[in-house]
């Protein structure tokens, strides 16, 4: 079973993507903490998340002492290294959930990405950004690109997500 742990930094943009439901074609289940749901503000994101939850494709994961412990460890590592931007609870819990349930971390959060690059042993799980999700969709022929120009167009959509 292919699991993904999403955070808000990914969702704020992905929820605006006109093919946002494609995410269901590459993961079997999406895991989120209540922190992600608590932050939802836009109607598009709310519609998207409500649909995923009602179809049973998204699951709200309760946090246990295990995730708390992982989160504490990651925050301590981040705090000890000035190269790592400040980690915030929504993102750090998404990572903790991914570590507990062996899920792919899907994020656009800078601190998480920096932490993964500088301390790969702390986050053994793969991290995917929108570009990796799109690439997987191309790989599975969900999104079809026939030329380099088209692939670049998809790339530009990642850069200017509001145009998707």
């Amino acid at each position: 079973m292919k699991l993904a742990s999403l955070d808000t930094c990914f969702l704020i943009d992905w929820a605006l993507y006109r093919h946002r439901d494609y995410i269901t074609k590459i993961f079997d289940k999406i895991l989120v903490s209540e922190h992600v749901l608590r932050e939802i503000y836009s109607s598009k994101a709310l519609d998207f998340v409500t649909e995923l939850l009602s179809k049973g494709f998204m699951t709200l994961v309760p946090l246990t002492s295990q995730e708390e412990e992982i989160a504490r460890r990651l925050i301590t590592t981040a705090l000890s290294d000035p190269r790592i931007p400040e980690l915030h609870e929504t993102e750090v819990y998404a990572v903790a959930i991914a570590l507990t349930y062996n899920a792919i971390i899907v994020t656009e959060n800078k601190a998480v990405l920096w932490l993964k690059v500088y301390y790969p042993n702390e986050i053994p799980q793969p991290i995917w950004r929108s570009i990796d999700v799109l690439l997987e969709l191309v790989k599975r022929s969900v999104i079809k690109v026939n030329s380099v120009e088209e692939a670049l167009k998809v790339g530009r959509r990642v850069l200017y997500r509001h145009q998707t």
Binding site: I12, E39, D132, R161
Partner: protein, 80 residues
């Protein structure tokens, strides 16, 4: 197949950081940004310099979705 994010190295992060800042500065609609109330203008300026929307939303106490909507209206690309 390796995915782009998995291949990133510390050196790549430095390059991405510099490139992202340049692109955000260049593409931003400064007229729009400067027309915003102080709090929102400063938050977008912070995002342009750091590429960290979470940090910008926390630092200026703005909901991250709302700040992202402002980012889009200001024509600032979403980059790390």
């Amino acid at each position: 197949m390796a995915y782009p994010t998995e291949l990133l190295t510390p050196k790549d992060l430095e390059v991405l950081e510099e490139w992202g800042r340049r692109v955000r500065r260049e593409k931003a609609n400064w007229k729009f940004i400067n027309s915003l109330p102080d709090k929102f203008r400063k938050a977008l300026e912070y995002y342009i310099e750091t590429g960290d929307i979470r940090a910008a939303s926390v630092k200026f106490d703005i909901n991250i979705y709302l700040l992202n909507e402002l980012r889009i209206k200001a024509g600032i690309p979403s980059t790390i």
